[in-house]
Structures are given as structure tokens and as C-alpha cells.
Symmetry: D2
Subunit: 469 residues, 4 copies
């Protein structure tokens, strides 16, 4: 409904907890913002994996009886976003298969850039594919290896894979967490002390720390780029089998995707977002009467902008959270209707005022245009749009669902054009330098390809000749 | 899930709109915060009323085909809250009946204090009741009158009724809006100019002005206390058939129920809430590092408190809006679990800080206690609870679902006890004088029975003797 | 899907059974053939009635938890058929109301011919109607009486009512069964000995005896025409408060509606149907190779025809019972598709044969036409249609859903025309005398208005003048 | 609910029909008796396969919009039965995968006896399995071949497979039908002349001819044992690539599984069943008053028994077809409840009579026992049980879901014991010679392993040593 990039997944895993499926349910519920299309949980019990998956929200997919059918002390889970066309239960994760070493389940956040090449090659050697997910490639690579050890199969499979992956795997005996060498997507490790009241701790992994809070787990550390963590009855073991690479986590996680209460990449998201707002003021100051966020994602940056500028901050647009599953668009000619389903300005705050509106990003510009019209109808005398990130000019290949370049307004138009299109009085984007000042605390170098077009990993083209002519 | 009073209803009506049912759908969607248990729409077409009702959220109850089955240019709608025990489709409104003058539909926000007495009497004279709603009484009083005019039947019925009622009625020819002489519940009148592109305006009535924004209707004025507005092919007519009474709208609408972007009782809700926060600081200042709201309802008051005090305002707790229909409580021993489903503190904001937490009210105290524990676990060094309303000591008889007096913590405990129970360092409630300073702009006298026990209208006791001995 | 008359209801009641709701569920399940649109159960427990109703089949409406919410030792239930237009949950029965004597639930099989007049009058005196069911009239008549005793209210209400009614009522203390003075619809009384293992019997009433078999109840006797049976803690009491009338049960119950294993009106349905078939042969003999029923309802008559004629009986058409809820009509041009969803001929039985096809009735003729074409395609050399009832020429006013006279093929066409239309080689309907020979065992005089137009009770016309001018 | 063997599947395919998915829907609907657990359809359109599958009945799984999403002129479909434990959407067929030659969909009726060995081997070489279906093995064998032609891959895959398979496959270009060399399961070929009104015919394949009748297709011939039929734009091609084997179709298809109106194995099922009944009388004559079938499957044999014996045939038990999805077992102590949900005797037919009850088979004996008790309660003076097949003593490995040998009453008890257990006065099973006389028309040799233990194909034991030591 909003004009945003969409995240593609959240992953979760727990080892040695008497209520592993329940804990995973809670973890996924906290990660729901990372994907609302489908969700699934797989548990391991007495040498057998069991799974339950469905389309929709975690709290609607899992009922008591479903969780009761997922016994065992280890489990992994997944929430998924995808575009409508590919939305299908067969693409829901975790992906569970049987292969020569037994059963394995895998949950993946990220995107594999050489998936099609690997898929063509695997098919040429006899593999069959049942989904359109690139994740399936990883499992086939593991299956076609002839190593007798699961971990060696996994690492040699991943050595062939290029791209972004924060993975959680579950076998009958082990919980495994892997983060790609560049560490594109977040992945954190936590612990629940004495989870079963038997003196033994429980280990948890999750996309974000917000999944730890709801289950009273303590954050231990990030899973490191290129790290494979293996948890089994002998405890936790860490290996780093891959060639070292530059640590380039996704900066957009700070700007929009992650939950404000999470710590990712060594910094708190909310605090970073406020700093982005403060930097935005430094880049693009303006005289105005009031600063409004586009809620909920623009709120921290707007607060940062207001604090830096001294202009009063107001929650001047109210968001309706009761959207339900199937909102019906009315036929009536109602101006700029789309955004009204979710947002409504407060006339008393806006009327006659010079307004700064802070949002985190502009993708196509359509929502911004509607918001500005709505605020003008509510009586705003001036509207200054401020965006707490640089113009988005390039699609993401590392796990974010972005539109084609043609649809990205900033890829094809300059600032003046965009300002005209969205009808703001002035428009200011945060500079890339401003972003880096705001995230400096993290210490990473970051992937910023969506702003710069500088891709850390090239996307290989499939070969022109048939593979086996 | 939160420890709040619950509103019982929102009403909506539209006359002379080519898409009356669609418009009502949007109106109800905007009033969803006033009731999430059931909803219904009735339209009038060619002398016949048609209705669709269901349990749940507006956006889940109505699908395209349902709205298509509600033709006609007038419609009314209703959203309802009720306690679980009485939750039943047969109590969903609008209530539609056939009686001697034809069909009539009624939607009611409020509560009738002499309903049981009237019901006993009506049954004694032969009426049958199919629901447990007091609204049914009004229709029976209309039906048992022998006046030949609908409006006279309605007004003579209402003369026998004591209590709170903002009503919207629909007959084959008329849309009628009524507000009780005390004007307990809000009810506003609006207009959509040239709605059908035929030069004719459309009239709308709604519980709050936020329902006008989504349909591009302009706010005309409040329906006045004791006013009956009749809209039909001859235009809009207003009568005031009842004895005049003191105008005592519900002050709690400002404190908690109404949506911040609404104007009710001649004032904007958000602005009043910020003032309540400022008054709260005047009543209960404290030295602290940060002011946090309990989101979403406590946010404006916290902003007002922060502005008045100069203490920085932070969105230090994140609310999860993906709750779904059937969240499962885990068995795991997770501390203060209940509130974690919806709220999580941001450690980086809270740790080591002296925190002021602003909420709009405390009902039982259970949620406050959990929030405070959660904040202490996140490292808060001091926690000062500030409530932007006086202690709630008495139940409401005018349309709000309040617990029994025994469950209202402030009805049975003094401030020190409550502070002990919720484990805050200090606790401060806004004084009733502070409330009145904050709502002065409205100019009304207000019902404050929940804070003072001063009931505007007594609740009559059913007679001891049988009615017809 | 088939071109048949549709029954409108089945009723059931049980008194003093530890599992009253479960027993009612089973009873309704056995009466499902009498109505598949909606069903409901009301139980009485500790002075309070509880109900559950839904649209669809009994086995789909009631789940364990629903039955568990219907505690108590007495219950009544209802299954309903109705035409699509009026299909609505608010018309589902039992109908439950509160009135001056407390709560009452009513379940009705039949039709009241003076309902509209009574309804107009009741509305004129202040009653409101919430459904389009004539049953609601009975309850209003009871409510507007000023007698202090339930039974006297009921009998005086029924004295004003003309029409067909087999009723089961439930109050907090009593189970009441009533059959109209003409006894149009069946109603039987049964007993479960020592149902609760406490030495006390349980009483049951039902539309047909087939509902007794599934619950191991013994058939005691028919509820007599004009009889009111009251069952309460003092036992079973019978009164006959109405003026005596001719006993004219519906002969069509024998021909089509009732289940073959039921005993109604003192005869077994299957046996009567076989005799109808034998009489049909006497009326319309033919030389042929094989007798086929239109299954399932035509089977016994076809067997009777075959036995009487000596022509071999074959189940030469197979019926598909897996129809599901929402069969989709294909677009493809498939000849005489409609009936193929349910019926398919066996070529090996039909090819080259002179076939007698026995059905119980013809309403519009469309199904017969399709069946005959289907049989010709399967190679039948001659097709002789035989109908085990006379031509249906008049609609029913006593509880059967019949089409308008214009749609009844036999009301507007003679035998030759119908034979032409359905394309049979010969066509023979059973004579009314043949019907009476077949049902002679019952001893009743029977209503045969659908065949003769002789209505036992006239359908009063609403007065031309307003009731109270 | 009944004590029967369960069939495992029905398959259907259509090539070159403008409404391929609709036609498949109708075909599956006619084959519903072969499997009620899940169903699916895959269509081929512009080089892309699309599928829709679900749990439950065909008419409930497919709605208009689902069929509209299956465009194209070719389609295949499948209905499946399976035991509760393995019931899962991931086992629903057709099975659709992508492999090196593109996409392929497969629908399978039968059972592969060396599936586990092949699976172990395939996994050892890198295949992963996502279901527990043996059908998946066939696709993996095709994928791991390195032949460039689909048909050669299929035939070489099937050369490695032992067991029963009637297969329908769909690629982007071809519809393929295969029947195993022994021809265990039926598979028939049909044609719809000028299906698209463009002069071109449409080809159809189905498990039984009853699927042809509903779509007005003509039966052409059986797919022969060991035959592979390939249908594509160049027309229909037939090859027989496998070593010839004895033609041993499943005799139980005639006894119970197939629909009476179908022709399978060159004979009509209804006619064969009547002959089985006549042979049964020859084997086990008895003096009695009436012959009753256990409906619906026992009806033709009972008619054959009645005709041969001259004892009158009566439909003396009524079957309730309104079972719905979730019938609730009552707690009440109701004698022999289970079978009453579906069957009820007609007292007037049974009371005082010497009854012959004809059923097609006895599996565990529990249903027979309940039926006999029910008939005795209805007054039968003698009950002679006659079974139109020999005692079932061995499980089926060729596609029928049979219980373990321990549960087969006849595997462990002699005739006298069974007669005692089910409490019949006398009990007679048809001899194997009687069966062969009845099916002689077919000309095949038949698999009768369930009666004799003579398995046509041995079930290989997995090797004791690991495959690649």
C-alpha cells in the first residue's frame, strides 16, 4: 500500500528448548515486519523433522494444534515477503527435503546472484526443482556432494554460491547458522539461560535482536560475516571456511527494514534513524513551523530532524492500523484515495503552517505526491519534503524486492523533476556522506548499491552456449 | 490485550450518494477504533432495506460482492465492541425490523439506563426481544406507538428513554440522526458537495470527523444535544423535541477513545491530549532524562509533557501491530509476557536513564506493572509513571464498557498502594482541574463520572413489585 | 439440481437426556433430507436457552465445541430448506426470543396461510418483525396474549393461525410438540428407556421415525392431529384444544419427501412407494425389456413396477454423490450437461433395450427430458416414462416449496404435450385412484391439492381496506 | 467409515481441448470414488505449466477463479486417497517439477514395489526428495538420465521401476499415457470429436470410462499393458518399449473399486457384479425371504443373487449421503453407532424375515458385525451373510491401501470363526473359481493376490549392505 522497498525474509532458530516450536512462533511474530506473505516452522524430534507452513501472518497461520504437532527441542522458522505473482505455498520456507544424509530444513534470508547458472548446471546433472526459490539451489548442491559430513557438504555448497545469505538449517541433530562472507543481511546469536530448568542453556539465532526480547533471550553477538555456527549436543562450534571478504552489510536495514528496537551491525536502529534525521537537517535546513513524520517508518528521522532544527515535532498524520486482509477500493471518485486508507492529517496541526515532512525513502514517488496533496487540502501553507536517505537509483540483488530501474523515480529524474512530480515546495535527500556519518558507530563499510549502483558482487550472466553441447 | 476501557460503538450514515454502501464502508473503516467485534451496513433501495453484518473487522467482513448486494443511495453502518460473553452476531447492528410503518434500521452508540424497566414493561404488553441489546427497546417503543408519523413515533419513544444515545436511523425514505439531550457521545454532520455529479449534495453523519476525511466530506457542525436531524428528499430538517438538559459530553472521549485527528465537542483531540500532557507536567513535575509514551494512545500526552518539561521525548517502546486474530499464549515461563506481544522497549534509549512513562489511564494496573518491569529489565534507573487523567473510580453507564468497581484499582486503593503495585518510583495522575483546563476550548461542562462518581443521570432500579400486580 | 419439489423443514426435540444437544445433532442429521439450507439447535440449561445455528449441512455446522456450548438435558433442533433468495441466517430456526414469560424457542415445519393478515394486525398493534418467516407470527401471538400460562398462550395463539404446522417448542421447563388439526406434516413421538442410567426415560419428538433409529429410541406413536403434547418434570401430558378437523396429511410425503425407512401416517414409506409402482403398472402397462429407476427417489416405485410387470429391474443409472458445495458448470458445449453431474447410464444395460424409466414426479420436465436424451445416447431403443404420482398441477400452501403454476408443466400442458416435450415414447402418470389404493393402509384422507387443486384450507386474501382506517 | 479397502488414485488427461482445465475438472469429479483426500489439475499453456491442488473433494477444491488460472488446451488431473497419517498437501498430485528438459507434470495410479531401493540409490547420487510418494522416484529417474529426448528418458526410467502404474504425464508439448506391462490398474483412451469446432479432435485418457460420459467423449480402447501413448501436435503415437509380461489386471476393480457404469478390462462393471452375485448363489444357496444389499457397493451382487435364487430383492437398508466433512461421534452410549451414521434398516422389510445380506467384501469384520446387530434389532429372524468375493487374506502391493495382514480377519480366522465374530447365522464367500467365471468375459488372467497370496511381482527387500560401501 505504501511505496516502499520490501524486505524478503526473516529467519529464526532455537536449539535445546523444551518449547522449541512455541519459541520459534514468538520469534517469527517479532520478525513479522520482514515478511508478511507466508511463514513456516520446522521442528526436530526423535530423528524426524515436522513442518507447518501457510500463507499470511504468523498469528493466523499457527494455532495451538499446529504448534502441538511440532514437538521436539529444536526448531527453525521463516517469514517471507514476495511479490504477488510468485506468491505460493510451495515457495514458503523453511524448505524441507530428504537426501542421502537424511532430512534437512533450511530457512534463507537473502538472494543468490548466480542461482540460475547453478540451477541450469544442476538440472543438467539430473536435479529436479520444485520451487522458484534460489534457496533450493543450496540444498541441491549439498545433495550432489559426496562428502559424508553434513557440514562439509554445506560449506562446499556455499563456496559455489555467490550472493547474500543469512541461513538457518536444521537437521535431526544440529542447528546451523551461516552468514555470507560479505554479511549483507543481519543475523544475531542469543542465549536463554537454563531454558529447561535443567541447568542447560538454549541457543537462539535470529535476523534481528527484537526476536530475542519477546522470549527473554540475551543477545550474545552477531553471527560474523563468513561464519558457520554449528550447535549440537557437544555445544556451539564456529568455523570460518570461506575466503575473507569485505564486510558490507546492507545500509538500508538501518534506513527502513529493521525494527527500531533491534540492534543490528553493532548499532541500535532507532538511534541511527534519529541521527539520519539530524544529518538530513544539516544537509537540507529549512525555515518551517512544524516537522511531521510519515508514520511509522519516518518517525525517528523526523524526531532527529526536529531536534537538530529546533522546529517542533508533531505526530501530524494519524495511521490506521486496522487494514484487514482484503481492503476494497471504492469506485467513488475520491481524491488521492490510496494513501487515505492508512494516513490522515490532523487539520489543527497542519492548517496555515509551513510543514517539513520527513520520510525514509521515495521509490516511485506516488505516495509522496498523495501525502503532499492531502496536506495541502488540510491547509498546509508550505510543504518541504525531506528524505532520510539518498535517491534510490539501482535495484538490489541481495535480498530486497525492488522495482525495475524504470520504476525508480530517482533513477530517471533529477531532483527538480521529482520535486515537480510530488508537488513539494522543496525537496531534500540526505547525502551519502550524511548516511555514513549517521551509521559510523557500526564500523562496517556497507553495501550502498541502491544509492550508488556500486555492486559488491557482480551478477553473472548465464553463458551463451548450452552447457553440454 | 491492553488494560483499557473499551468503547462500545461507532455509527455512520449517508444520504443521496451514488455509492452509499461503499461510502459507509469507508466511514466504518475510519471508525474501527470505536469497536472491533462486529460491524454492519444497511442500505435503502427502492423501498427495501438490505443488510450485511458480520463478526470481526470491517475490512474482513465486507467483500466486493457483499457491498454489491447493498444497492441504493442511502445507507447506515455500525461498528461494535462488546465483552466476549455477549459477543454474538445477533447483537451486531444496525438492527433492522419490520413494523407497522414499514422497515426501519437503527445504529446506536451509547447506553440506555432505564432499558430493563422499559423492556419488562414492553414484554408485559406483548413485545418479544431477540437480542440482549438495549437498542432493541427503542424500536419496540416506536412500534407500540400508534402515531402515523415515523418522526413522532421516534421522538415519543425517546422521551421515555433515559441515557446516552447517538443514533442513526434509516427508513425507506429518510436518514435520521439523533443525539441525546446531554450529548454524551459525539455525533457530527458533514456534506459531500455534488456527490453524484448531478448538482445535488450528499449528507453524512458520523461518530467522529475522521470518518469524513477518508470520503472527502466537509465537516458542517456537531449534531447538537437533543437534536433530531431528518434528511429526506425535501432536504435537511432539524427539530429539538426534548426538554433541554445540561450539555455533558464524555470527557474520556478526549482522553482515550476518539481518534487524534478527529474534532469532537468543538476541539481537536490530538491538541487536547497534548494539553493534558502539559497540565500533567504542571501537576506532577519530575527530574528525568527522557519521556516515553505508552504507544499509541499515550503518545500525544507524552509529547505535551516533554514540551512542557523540556525533557527529551523518545519513542522508547516499539509497538507490534501484526497481532492477527488468534495470538497463542506460549506455555514457556516468560516474564511479563502479555504486554510483550505488543510492546518492546529500546534498550539504547532506556538503559541507565531516569524515565518518565506517560499513559492515558490505568484501569486494573496490570499492564502498567508489566511495562515497568520490562523497562527495568531494559536498564531504566528510575521510572516515573504519569497518567494524563485522574484515577478512574466509577463505572460508566453511558456507553463505555468498564469493569466492575472491584476491578478498578483506583476505586479501592490510594496512590501509594497503586505506586507499590505497579512498582513505579513515583506515580502521578492528572488532577480533575488539570483536565478541565486542557478541555476548556470545548466550552462544554462534561460528564466526569468515571473520575468523580457524579452521575448526570441516575440509573433507576427496577421496581420491587411486579408491574401489573 | 434435480427438478423436484423441495421440502421445507424437519424438526426434532428431546427431553431429559444427559446429552440432549448431541442427540439432537444426530436426529437432525437423520432428517437432513428435509432441508439442507440451514440448521440450528437450542438447548435449555439452568433456566437459560442457548443456541447455535448456521447455513449448510448439519455435519458442517456443528463441531464439538459448538455442541459443548449447548449444555442441558433438553434441546430442540431444526433443518431448513428455502429458495436461494430468502436464504439467510436470520431465517434459520429454531427461533429464540425473550418475552414476558421468559425465553422460548420454536421450530416449525409447515406453512401458515393467514400469516400476512396476522402479521399486518400484529404490526398495527406494535409488534416488530425481524425475519420473513411465518413462524415469527406464532411467537408474537403468544407474546401479545395476556394469559399467565405458557400453554394457554400457545393454544390461543394457534387458534388464530390457519395452516400447516408441526411444531416443537422449548422453554426453560418444558418441551412442547404440536401438530395442526389437519395433521398436514408428520410428527412422531418416541422414547429412550433409561437414557441417563438413572431409571428415567427420555422423550423425543421428530418429523420422521428415521430420526429415532440413529439414537436407539423406540417409536411410541404419532403426535395426533390437533394434539399438544407437553413434557416437563411431571411427565407427559396431552391436550386437544382445537376444534376437530378432517385428518388430511400430505400424500406427497409418501411419494417423495420422507425417508424410505421412516414410518409416517401409520405406514412405512418404502412399502407404500413400492405399491405406488405396482399401481403404476396396473394403470400404465407396457411391453419392455428393463425397468430403471431415476435414483434414488424413484427406486422403490421402479422395483414395484418391475415386480408387478415381471420386467427385470436394473440400477441402470449410477448416481454420483460427491457433489460438494460449489459445483462449477463448465462452459463447454456438453449436451444435457446438468443431469450428468449426478446421473450416468450404464450402456451395457441400456443399449438396444426397450426401457421403462420410473420417477416419482415431474415438476418442470427439464430433468426428464435430459434423462431421456442421455438414455437414447446410451442406445435405448424405446423409452417409456412412468411417474408414480399424478400430474402436479397446483402449488402447495402447506409447507412445500413448489414453483408457480406457470412453471408446473402439467398445469399448462396435456399428457401428449408433455410426452412430446420430454421426448419419451410413451408417458404414464399414476392415477389419483392408484395413489389412494397404495396408501390405503394409512387410513387417512390426505391432502392431494398439488394433484387436484382441492385445498383443504383456503388461503385468505388480505383485506382491501386498511385495518384501522 | 465403512470397513473397505481404499483405492489410491484416479488419473485423467486431455489434449487439444479449448477448455482443458474444465474438462479435467469434470473428469476428476467422475473419478472421485477413486480418491477423496486430495486432488489437483495441471494445465499447459504457452510453454508453461500451471497447477492447482488442494485437500478434499474436487468440487470443493476448484472454484471458477482457480480453473480460470489454468489456461491452455492440455491438462492432466489426479484424485488421491491415502491414510490419515500421510495425508498432506505436499503429497497431492499431479507432481510438477522443473528439470533439464523443462517442466513436467505426472499423475500416478498404482504403487512401485522397488521404490525404496531406487530412492536410496538416487539419494546416494545427489537427488533430494520432497515428498513421501513413490511417484517422485519416476521423475528423478527421468531427470538423472542424460538422454536428450523426453520419451526415451521416460521409458528408460520405467524400465528400472517394478510395480503398478497407470501414468499420465504432461509436458509443454505432449500428453503421455503409460500403463505398466502387467496392466494392474485400468487406463482408457477416448476421443471428443471436433472438440474446438475447428475440425480437430481432442484426446482424453482416464482411469475409467465413467469419466468419458460426463464430457461426451467416446471410448476408443484401453491403453494396453506396457503401452506408452504419446499425443502431440503430430497426433497420437503408440510404442511398447517394455519386455512383454502377463496381463494381470486387478480383479478387485471389478469387485469393489470401479464405478458400475464404467467399462474396464473389456467388461462392464455392473454386469460383472451381478454375475458375481449369481455365482455367489450357486456357491452358497440358502432358503430365505428376502435379499438385501449393503448399499451402495453391494447392490448389483445382491440383485444377481436375488435373480439367481428367485428370492425377492429389497433395498432394505437406507443410506444417508449427507455425511459432511466432520461428523462428530456422540458420547452417548448408542449401540453399534458407527454404521448408523450411514445405514438404517427398514423395519417393515426386515421384521420377521429370513434375510440374505450381500456385501462385496469383509476386511476387518467390524462393519458386518454392526450391520447384523442392527438387522436383528429390526426383527430379522435369520441373517445369512453372503460375500461376493473370496476371503481377503493378503495385502496389496499394487496401489490399493489395505490394512496389515494382522487386521485382515480372514487372514487369521477360518470361516466358522468369522461367522461367530460377525454373528451371522450362516456366512458364505464366493469361491475364486466363481470369481473367474464371473469375469471370464474380460479375457485377462488377473492379479488375485489379495485372495490367494500369489504375487505377480515380488516386493524386493532393500539390500543388507550399504549400497556404496
Amino acid at each position: 500500500m505504501f511505496d516502499k522497498f520490501n524486505d524478503e525474509c526473516g529467519v529464526f532458530g532455537v536449539y535445546n528448548h523444551p518449547e522449541a516450536a512455541n519459541i520459534t512462533y514468538l520469534g517469527l511474530y517479532s520478525l513479522q515486519h520482514r515478511g508478511q506473505e507466508s511463514a513456516g516452522i520446522v521442528s526436530s524430534n526423535e530423528g524426524k523433522l515436522r513442518s507447518h507452513k501457510g500463507m499470511g501472518l504468523v498469528a493466523d497461520i499457527f494455532h495451538k494444534k499446529d504448534l502441538a504437532r511440532l514437538p521436539g527441542k529444536s526448531a527453525i522458522g521463516h517469514v517471507r515477503y514476495s511479490t504477488a505473482g510468485e506468491s505460493h505455498i510451495k515457495n514458503a520456507q523453511p524448505f524441507v527435503v530428504e537426501y542421502s544424509l537424511g532430512e534437512i530444513a533450511i530457512a534463507h534470508n537473502g538472494n543468490i546472484v548466480n542461482a540460475q547458472i547453478l540451477r541450469d548446471e544442476l538440472e543438467a546433472y539430473g536435479s529436479i526443482f520444485q520451487s522458484s526459490m534460489d534457496t533450493e539451489v543450496i540444498v541441491h548442491l549439498m545433495a550432489t556432494s559426496n562428502d559424508s559430513k553434513l557440514i562439509r557438504r554445506l560449506t562446499s555448497a556455499l563456496m559455489r554460491v555467490k550472493g547474500a545469505y543469512s541461513l538457518v538449517l536444521l537437521s535431526n541433530k544440529k542447528l546451523i547458522a551461516v552468514r555470507d562472507p560479505n554479511g549483507f543481511r543481519p543475523l544475531v546469536l542469543g542465549r536463554i539461560k537454563d531454558a529447561g530448568r535443567d541447568g542447560k542453556d538454549s541457543w537462539v539465532v535470529a535476523s534481528e535482536t527484537c526476536a530475542f526480547e519477546i522470549i527473554d533471550a540475551e543477545y550474545v553477538r552477531d553471527v560474523e560475516p563468513g561464519e558457520v555456527i554449528i550447535i549440537d549436543e557437544y555445544g556451539l562450534k564456529s568455523i570460518k571456511p570461506f575466503a575473507e571478504a569485505k564486510y558490507t552489510p546492507c545500509v538500508f536495514e538501518f534506513i527502513y527494514f529493521a525494527r527500531p528496537d533491534s540492534r543490528i551491525f553493532n548499532a541500535n536502529v532507532y538511534t541511527v534513524r534519529k541521527r539520519l534525521g539530524a544529518e538530513l537537517y544539516r544537509d537540507h535546513p529549512v525555515e518551517a513551523d512544524v516537522v511531521l513524520p510519515v508514520p511509522d517508518s519516518g518517525t525517528p528521522a523526523a524526531m532527529g530532524y526536529a531536534e537538530a532544527s529546533g522546529i517542533p515535532f508533531e505526530m501530524g498524520m494519524v495511521r490506521n492500523h486496522y487494514v484487514g486482509r482484503t481492503f476494497i477500493e471504492p469506485q467513488a471518485e475520491i481524491r488521492h484515495f490510496g494513501v487515505k486508507i492508512k494516513l490522515n492529517p490532523i487539520r489543527d496541526i497542519v492548517a496555515g503552517k509551513r510543514v517539513v515532512v520527513v520520510d525514509d525513502s521515495i521509490v516511485r514517488g506516488t505516495t509522496s505526491q498523495k501525502i503532499i496533496k492531502m496536506l495541502r487540502n488540510a491547509g498546509a501553507s508550505e510543504i518541504h519534503m525531506r528524505i532520510s536517505s539518498p535517491p534510490t537509483i539501482s535495484p538490489c540483488y541481495y535480498g530486497i524486492d525492488t522495482p525495475n530501474k524504470e520504476e525508480l523515480i530517482a533513477a530517471n529524474h533529477d531532483l527538480a523533476d521529482i520535486n515537480d512530480y510530488i508537488t513539494s515546495d522543496t525537496l531534500g535527500y540526505l547525502s551519502i556522506e550524511g548516511v555514513y556519518r549517521a551509521v559510523a558507530e557500526s564500523g562496517a563499510s556497507f553495501c550502498d548499491a541502491c544509492f550508488t549502483g556500486n555492486y559488491v558482487l557482480a551478477r553473472p550472466k548465464p553463458p551463451q552456449l548450452a552447457l553440454f553441447g
